[in-house]
Symmetry: C2
């Protein structure tokens, strides 16, 4: 863990240059606008340790699958998020000496990410060879014009007159850190340089994505824009403009750099550079101050409905805002082709853009804080990939329209290539089905079933029905060779969670089928014809499996067993691990697999999704058994545990888990923030507040709250959309105030008691302490 980030309600602050933590800071201070983004790399050159990263949504590289032993069904490629041409570069030389924070003496360094406005600022003084200068920079990716970025970069000569050489540039001669022997993924298509404006189009190898990056800049001396003679610098994959300026002591020189990044995902290739210049020119015409003003206004608007306020605990407040901020930076819900990549625009690790994280951890955030269409689009995304999921299952030997959604994808095809994940971590199908249920439960949009949902559910149910086999030894159905959510177990038999979700899916598919049959008989006839559904043979089989499924259980402890054979392990609490934590960085894989340690909720994930199936005592027994063995080394772990702990009244555990999820990256809990931030788990952080501390649930079409706040807090407030109503929920030490911000009345439940709130009014309810949720 690291604690160098300064606590602040609205800002992320690095005070003093933490060179050894630079990669972590580059991740934490990342900027993005759903369309493009980049790590907090410096504008000027830096020869110290850095992970350079600029990313363009939807652009990737199909890295060839290479394994010791090829397995049938592997994708040919692994979709790698690639470092794209950088638009931020401004090289600076002072009297011929390159400005480089690795070689100059740095003082008064401060890096600030203002989450209220989405602006990254940096200021420092540097000294070398008797020269002393001060630098300030402000940078943002506009969320108003989402193909535009802007920088204001200011240099002041502090102790003597100096000659400055300033070179804003675009660089496409870049690598990914994990490429094979520095293989490069970009080739130049063309470049243009005209006055202060320069453009460079590059394309990716293999998939031929084109990206045009354009830049323009102005130079001002003491705030006054000045024409400076300049020299174009052009070479392969690089275009820049060099200006030499004499700068007297005390003088401030400001470079305003504007850039546009456009890709062939959104414009014809043939005129891509024109499109890029058009976007650039619009930005230049607005100017830095106007762009910044719009940026601030737009961010303020984003915060209105999605902000969560925590009183009395700055660390917790900063944590939750950081999570919400990153969710907004990563996905705006405006482009149905995009999804929520695990690292967003903060790093290159992990391939693909879509994991089960979206359905399991992000959907609730969008359901409650955005228009219903955003969550629906996330579901439709999977509907559009149904045919590919069916083909994916066929590659693995399944038939009859069985669908297996990919573990990782860009376009519906599987793009992960480790067998224990790709072929075995099939529980993902369950989360995708559950998201349909979750969405309809929340929105009451049951029409979604006939339009899209049922087909997806049928494909998934068919998959499960084929994936089980009947064990003669047990005289029950078993599911062999799976990997559960706890990826610290591979190729296990009868993972309780997977068996449970499989049965749930088949059951829900039957319910959905009955619903569509009754409410949209014509549509059902279409679907039946399309899917060649054989009723009642198929549904009878599903029923038979549900009735005769085997679920591993420890009769002595009365807990469900994560999988067959779990009790042969040495069962030891994770608290005893000491220095070994995180084990995925310190232990070999076989040792992890043999151990009892749990990466993230597995049995407990089932309790989270299907909570109404289990009573509180059963939850308690299982939580008490599994949580102590859980190392939470997946970013997706603490949030679910926080919610369950809150439900059980384990306030301290809930708070501990909340801090861990909310400050996972800020405090570098898992020693991997340097690779990028854990974006998808940030939706989980939001859930841990709203579902955990807020105790929000939707049951039978009505919303329930069972709030409490940790002892460390004075107050908590959050807003949620629920169907027609926008609610503000405010919790303090003694009561909860729910304000209905909409016109219509809403009936809801607080601490299990019905409560009706008129439009534009609020209700205050006394906090019930020590009451467990039922």
């Amino acid at each position: 863990m690291k604690h160098y980030i300064q606590h602040d309600d609205w800002k992320i602050i690095e005070n003093g240059f933490q060179q050894e933590n630079n990669r972590i800071s580059e991740s934490l201070f990342s900027l993005g606008n759903g369309r493009m983004g980049q790590r907090a790399n410096f504008e000027e050159q830096y020869s110290g340790d850095t992970l350079q990263g600029s990313y363009v949504a939807g652009v990737y590289y199909p890295d060839k699958t290479r394994v010791g032993w090829w397995k049938n069904g592997y994708p040919e490629y692994f979709a790698k998020v690639i470092n794209a041409p950088s638009w931020i570069g401004i090289d600076v030389e002072v009297n011929g000496v390159p400005l480089d924070l690795n070689t100059w003496k740095v003082t008064d360094f401060k890096r600030v990410l203002d989450m209220k406005s989405g602006v990254l600022q940096r200021s420092f003084q540097v000294e070398k060879d008797g020269m002393k200068i001060a630098v300030k920079s402000s940078r943002f990716c506009s969320i108003v014009d989402d193909e535009v970025g802007a920088i204001a970069y200011t240099i002041k000569a502090l102790n003597k007159d100096v000659q400055l050489k300033i070179t804003p540039y675009i660089d496409a001669d870049i690598v990914n850190e994990d490429s094979n022997y520095d293989e490069k993924f970009w080739e130049e298509v063309g470049q243009e340089h005209c006055g202060d404006t320069a453009s460079l189009t590059a394309k990716t190898k293999k998939l031929d994505f084109h990206v045009c990056t354009s830049m323009a800049f102005t130079i001002a001396v003491n705030g006054k824009t000045t024409e400076v003679e300049n020299t174009p610098i052009q070479r392969t994959k690089y275009v820049g403009t060099e200006s030499i300026i004499d700068c007297r002591v005390g003088t401030t020189l400001t470079v305003n750099k504007y850039a546009s990044v456009v890709s062939s995902e959104n414009y014809p290739k043939i005129s891509l550079m024109e499109s890029g210049k058009e976007q650039l020119n619009k930005a230049v015409a607005k100017g830095f101050e106007q762009l910044l003003k719009e940026q601030k206004e737009a961010w303020a608007q984003k915060w209105v409905n999605s902000d969560i306020k925590i009183k009395g605990d700055t660390a917790a407040q900063q944590g939750i805002r950081f999570n919400i901020f990153q969710m907004h930076q990563t996905y705006s819900g405006e482009d149905a082709r995009l999804n929520i990549g695990p690292k967003g625009f903060t790093g290159e690790k992990y391939g693909g853009s879509t994991y089960w994280d979206t359905e399991a951890y992000c959907l609730p955030f969008y359901l409650s804080t955005a228009d219903q269409s955003v969550a629906r689009n996330l579901l439709v995304y999977r509907y559009k990939h149904l045919q590919k999921a069916i083909e994916n299952a066929e590659k693995l030997g399944f038939t009859n329209g069985a669908a297996l959604y990919p573990m990782v994808t860009m376009n519906g095809e599987e793009c992960h290539n480790e067998w224990e994940i790709t072929f075995e971590e099939i529980h993902r199908n369950g989360a995708i089905a559950f998201a349909i249920y979750d969405y309809i439960r929340y929105t009451d949009d049951a029409a979604y079933l006939s339009e899209y949902g049922l087909e997806v559910l049928m494909g998934i149910a068919r998959f499960w029905a084929q994936r089980v086999n009947f064990s003669n030894a047990k005289q029950q159905y078993v599911m062999l060779g799976v990997t559960g959510p706890n990826e610290y177990e591979n190729n296990v038999n009868n993972n309780w969670y997977t068996n449970t979700m499989a049965c749930w899916c088949m059951n829900y598919a039957m319910e959905a089928l009955a619903y569509v049959k009754e409410n949209a008989p014509k549509r059902w006839a279409e679907i039946q014809a399309k899917t060649k559904f054989d009723e009642p043979t198929e549904t009878s089989k599903w029923k038979d499996i549900i009735e005769n499924m085997y679920f591993p259980k420890d009769e002595e402890r009365q807990v469900f067993l994560q999988q067959d054979g779990f009790l042969d392990k040495e069962l030891k609490p994770a608290a005893e691990l000491g220095d070994a934590y995180p084990i995925h960085q310190n232990w070999s894989w076989d040792r992890i697999l043999r151990s009892c340690y749990i990466k993230q909720a597995d049995v407990l994930q089932g309790f989270y999704f299907l909570e109404d199936q289990f009573d509180m005592e059963t939850l308690k027994r299982n939580f008490d058994f599994y949580e102590p063995m859980t190392v939470h080394e997946s970013s997706l772990s603490p949030c679910v545990h926080s919610i369950l702990a809150a439900k059980l009244g384990y306030k301290e555990k809930a708070y501990e888990m909340y801090l861990r999820t909310a400050r996972l990256d800020l405090d570098d809990y898992n020693n991997d923030t340097k690779d990028g931030c854990h974006i998808t788990s940030m939706g989980g952080t939001w859930m841990s507040v709203v579902k955990g501390f807020g105790g929000m649930r939707v049951r039978d079409g009505q919303v329930h709250f069972n709030p409490f706040i940790p002892d460390e807090w004075e107050g908590l407030s959050f807003k949620v959309n629920f169907r027609e109503n926008l609610l503000n929920v405010e919790v303090n030490k003694s009561d909860v105030v729910i304000e209905n911000l909409s016109e219509g009345c809403i009936d809801l439940f607080v601490f299990g008691e019905p409560c009706s709130i008129e439009g534009r009014s609020k209700e205050r309810i006394e906090l019930k302490k020590g009451v467990l949720m039922g």
Copy 2:
């Protein structure tokens, strides 16, 4: 399966150009001499389907490990056998038209590998644009001068005068088929061209192996050597010599090409080209005929003691000779740094040179047919790697001198990087320990224990003692998360074979320890100090584990269970697979893992190694249970089953399995001969004859035979060295004749009866039919 190879006692013959099988033929007709070798690629250019492959022993490339999710303990590199600069190339143009069997009309094509002499011959006629020519080539890698190769390439104009352009060359601008986007592994160091002699030195990327390939040639017209004007052709990574010759109809033109291949493994880099030229000049001085004569004599010598003769079954005879021939081509036992690569010099698939195959399948061949020092060298190879095996175990978290030998290695370091193999297929340690026992049992060289063996055994025993854990649920020791010899199961618990071998190893280590203590107390003191062995704490622990180990068993069927949970699978005979065979080419990995199908002997491998621990009834029950579910998709499978079937008196099964192992490559049983031959399993083929049909065993220092021959055969004879004696064993339908070819008398057992054979004399014993081995 394919049946285009013509049956012959001594030759491998392709009659008529089987273009669609060219890759298979290139594998089958490969040449090698333990130091270098190559696939049967054509001398002249070929634009059809081909896998080009020349290989130099000990030279490899560390291909960077790239996986989706890095696991601690992975090697950084995977040692890839690389295609080396080719010395065989002779391009031919006829009246300006390149000779190419893919574009010319081919007739009378014949490719013959003469196993008696180790010479590859090819003859054909081709026609194009009215030109008709005949070509013959003979080629060999000398086993006398093992850095030398020679070719005689003859062209005859059949129907008109033609102008020939002949270009012998060396080409280092080559790729491996599975390289990433045609990455090249070789860089040129230098080249030289001087008259008819040319040399080219290339080095590998990363590891900087240098290889110098040199060539010289002569041209003869109608058998008379002729000076022909020539032009050097030099470009990067290529050097050749072009000669233009007018060739009258009926005239025969012969190119004798000589080459040397020397590497920095054996010579200083600084003078490598000098060394190469020296070797080349010696070869040129001898001339083609003399080199060929020496080659024939040397091969005749190899066959004297290692030949196996089968009467009445040409397919079987050809099969066994092919296996023995390839074993000799791959490993000569002369260089203690080398080992027996799984593809020898016949293909690039699989990395590394050393697998457990060496100990489990090849050692017996060398024990019986070569000088004792050859087998001993194979054991010493592992002793020399002990420190690296200890370090390897440390990387995985083991301590106190525990040793885990690599699954695949070039130099003692693990170079395979799939977790289920590298970290889990730990039974390899068992085979390495067993080889020590096997060697001493055969040779009586118990002194090996104190010199080398004991330290290896202790390291291995220490590993097992740490790898198990005590299960509170079972109140026994268990071994979780392993992969057994049947690699169609991964990460299973309590693989019976692994648990069994682990106990055996700990027990044998204790025996060895007691032996050394008693017989070499001083050496024991040294070892104890070096290994910090804590007696009796460590041995007590070993004893406790041996006494309380858990072995999975099916009480109903009274068979050992391959692993926990095996009975939850659908148990179906492999015979029902039909078109699905081979499943590793047709099924996804998860489907294979979930199925009952067994890749190679697993429980039965234990019965093979430790046969004296189990009675015949137990063997029969287990064989009858497992063999029908075995798909034999590992080349190492049929031989063990053949030996066990022979023991059980299942003659037909023994014969079926023998044919499958002996003709695995010749008949392309597993549809993968195109990738290269299965070299290490060829030792297993030898065992299936000698241990299977010959029923040879060593017990209590004496050799036993229990021979029979399959109904299809008229006779079988083989030779074995046993300690002081060389024996020739001849079996026919009615009796067995054992001839003692040495001076001293030998006491042995035939059909369980003692039998004494004087020096230089023989005994004839009537065949006992239907008698099972006890």
